[in-house]
């Protein structure tokens, strides 16, 4: 421990650091505590001002009601499919594009690299209208392209609204993962590539048997980030799904808040219970991936 002496000699600073840390933790944790408390009271108690800060006795009842009422089982499965799809798609796309950019020399390589880079500045929310247009008819851009050359293309519209594909694909097509992978691939020494070549491994073999095992921690980090990102998506699913059967859990949350009749108080207790339920899967993912996640972001595996 290199810093041990330093800490010993500064007990006051040490104490201040701890106080600040604990204060920070309380500030971060308090809203979640309030959410939990709200989910344990009945409707009149939760709408009282100020709301009590001690747990009530409606915990089980609130959770069962909201689970059954809003069909959360099916919605969670939808969310799970979308989040898993985005995660897998993203990792595959990121690893392959970074592989191409780092390990191959070809014309316009840097142009392609910068084109990918620019998409970092265009998150889904910014380009949501054109993205929706494409999702509504995938053939549209192709038709345009052909039209530029003076032809008409007779392809029937391909509609991705209310499909898992439509939910997943636009979330996959961003550059963050490609960058994480590129940075990692750049740390791989040239001689390792050359040793594999001398041993007779071709590019695909090198990718499969060297790059993928070496990037396991990276993959875990990216998977964690992407799963949470996709699970928390709200705007895009809201836009692209009109069929209630395709709704995701996050979308479903907003349907719970308003009271059953206009003018009635919002159903905060059930909404908060649902919020906590929806938080569970990403939380589990983070807990399970934590070790690899930190290693993937902090250090290269030696």
């Amino acid at each position: 421990m290199r810093d041990a002496g330093l800490i010993e000699r500064a007990p006051v600073l040490n104490a201040i650091t701890h106080v600040l840390m604990i204060a920070g933790l309380l500030i971060a944790a308090f809203p979640i505590y309030v959410v939990f408390i709200a989910s344990t009271h009945d409707l009149p108690t939760v709408n009282r001002v100020p709301m009590p800060l001690w747990p009530g006795d409606h915990l089980v009842q609130n959770y069962t009601t909201v689970w059954n009422k809003s069909d959360f089982g099916a919605k969670m499965i939808n969310s799970l499919i979308v989040a898993t799809g985005v995660t897998i798609g993203k990792i595959t796309l990121a690893a392959l594009t970074a592989f191409s950019i780092v390990f191959f020399r070809y014309r316009a390589r840097m142009l392609i690299f910068w084109a990918i880079f620019i998409t970092l500045m265009l998150p889904l929310e910014v380009r949501i209208v054109p993205t929706y247009a494409v999702a509504a008819d995938v053939a549209e851009p192709l038709r345009w392209l052909v039209w530029l050359f003076g032809f008409e293309l007779g392809i029937a519209p391909i509609n991705l609204l209310n499909t898992y594909t439509g939910l997943i694909l636009p979330l996959v097509a961003t550059a963050t993962g490609t960058f994480l992978y590129r940075q990692f691939f750049l740390t791989i020494p040239d001689t390792l590539v050359e040793a594999a070549r001398m041993d007779g491994a071709g590019p695909l073999r090198f990718f499969r048997e060297h790059l993928i095992p070496l990037s396991r921690n990276n993959m875990a980090a990216l998977a964690t980030i992407m799963f949470v990102y996709a699970w928390n998506q709200y705007l895009w699913p809201l836009l692209i799904t009109t069929d209630a059967r395709m709704a995701t859990a996050t979308m479903q949350l907003q349907k719970i808040v308003p009271g059953p009749l206009f003018g009635q108080p919002p159903v905060w207790n059930e909404a908060m219970a649902a919020t906590l339920l929806v938080m569970v899967p990403p939380l589990l993912v983070v807990i399970f991936m934590q070790g690899a996640f930190v290693r993937g972001l902090v250090a290269t595996d030696k």
């Binding site: 390792l192 040793a195 594999a196 070549r197 001398m198 041993d199 007779g200 491994a201």
Partner: protein, 370 residues
């Protein structure tokens, strides 16, 4: 048969030429060392044989087959890298057997061969470990095992010992030598360490600035360096080089007037020619004060190297070192020396090439000292 023929090979990166017309024949089973300072193109040449670098002009043939257009895996070469380049995510066994896995050998056969190789390189007990759990010397052995398992026609070594500490380096040097005696595969070994080169090579090729300066057996290069560069690069402590002008058939004079006697029968020189006189520190003779033709030198300091002593002095204003067995003389402030005519090397100061009459040889002292 795995002789290597390198014909008029050139290499340039965009406009910068790195290798200028290399011609070299490597005999089947030979242990060839390419020696040169960093940046002389020796690694580039090795990597071109391996197929890791493209060949700008000329051709390379291995075993009579031109390999210019072949992928590394099709050339039948195995390479040991300076930093070992082991696969960190694989065990020692998987590292050694990887080439066979790529070649599609069945697992049982593979494991048998890995065990065989592991025994040769002394790693049986470490097969299940990761490279990160091994010491430098063990990693080096894994790298050698990985190269050996394919039974390649040609072994390529890219400064494989320079990451090891001095003691281990000597030990691995012997192991590489033993390995070569056993396998008899053509080996090309690149290094900047002249001791490594002298001790390992059947033949040394000295390279400088993208050209071959001289090629030959270690003994020959040491005794009859063809250029000033080879003379100064081979041998530790390095050869003394004294700039001088020829003033008579048998005499050269340094800038400060010091005169050095030459054997007119050995050299072809012209009066007024600028030359460099080379003499190895171990060839300098220490004589009694007042002996004929003796130079009196002031000792600056001495380095004790155990079996011998390296005396730093100045001759004609130039740095001059003398190597003597420790027992021979006491440390003293003035040294009287003689430069025996038969061990003097003479180089043209302008071209750097050796000036010697055809048929003449370097004297016996240098050979006797080694």
């Amino acid at each position: 048969m795995a002789d290597i023929a390198i014909r008029n090979v050139e290499k340039s990166y965009s406009k910068t030429a790195v290798l200028h017309g290399i011609n070299l024949e490597i005999i089947d089973g030979e242990f060839l060392v390419i020696l040169g300072p960093s940046g002389c193109g020796k690694s580039t040449l090795l990597r071109m044989i391996a197929g890791l670098e493209g060949i700008t002009r000329g051709e390379i043939a291995i075993g009579g087959r031109v390999v210019n257009a072949l992928e590394p895996r099709e050339r039948g070469c195995a390479m040991v890298f300076q930093n070992y380049a082991l696969y960190p995510h694989m065990t020692v066994g998987e590292n050694i057997g990887y080439a066979l896995k790529v070649a599609g050998l069945p697992k049982v056969e593979r494991e048998r061969r890995v065990a065989e190789i592991a025994q040769i390189v002394g790693l049986e007990a470490f097969l299940a470990r990761r490279p990160s759990e091994l010491s430098g010397g063990q990693r080096q052995r894994v790298a050698m095992g990985r190269a050996m398992i394919r039974e390649p026609k040609v072994f390529l070594f890219d400064e494989p010992l320079s990451n090891l500490d001095a003691k281990l380096r000597v030990q691995m040097r012997l192991e590489i030598r033993r390995l070569h005696q056993r396998l008899k595969a053509t080996s090309v070994f690149v290094t900047h360490d002249q001791i490594e080169a002298m001790s390992l090579a059947d033949r040394i090729v000295v390279m400088n600035q993208g050209r071959i300066e001289q090629a030959g057996p270690p003994r020959q290069l040491y005794a009859e360096p063809a250029t000033r560069f080879v003379a100064s690069f081979l041998g530790a402590p390095a050869m003394n080089l004294l700039p001088a002008t020829i003033v008579a058939k048998d005499r050269a004079r340094m800038a400060d007037g010091t005169e050095i006697a030459l054997d007119p029968g050995r050299f072809v020189v012209e009066i007024g020619q600028a030359v460099e006189i080379g003499i190895r520190p171990e060839d300098v003779m220490i004589v009694w004060p007042g002996s004929e033709g003796a130079h009196a030198l002031e000792v600056e300091f001495t380095e004790d190297m155990g079996s011998s002593r390296l005396i730093h002095t100045r001759l004609g204003g130039m740095e001059f070192t003398v190597l003597q067995p420790t027992a021979q003389i006491e440390a003293q402030s003035t040294l009287h020396i003689n430069l025996p005519e038969n061990v003097i090397h003479l180089f043209d100061a302008r071209t750097g090439s050796r000036l010697i009459r055809a048929g003449a040889t370097i004297g016996t002292l240098a050979s006797a000292a080694a």
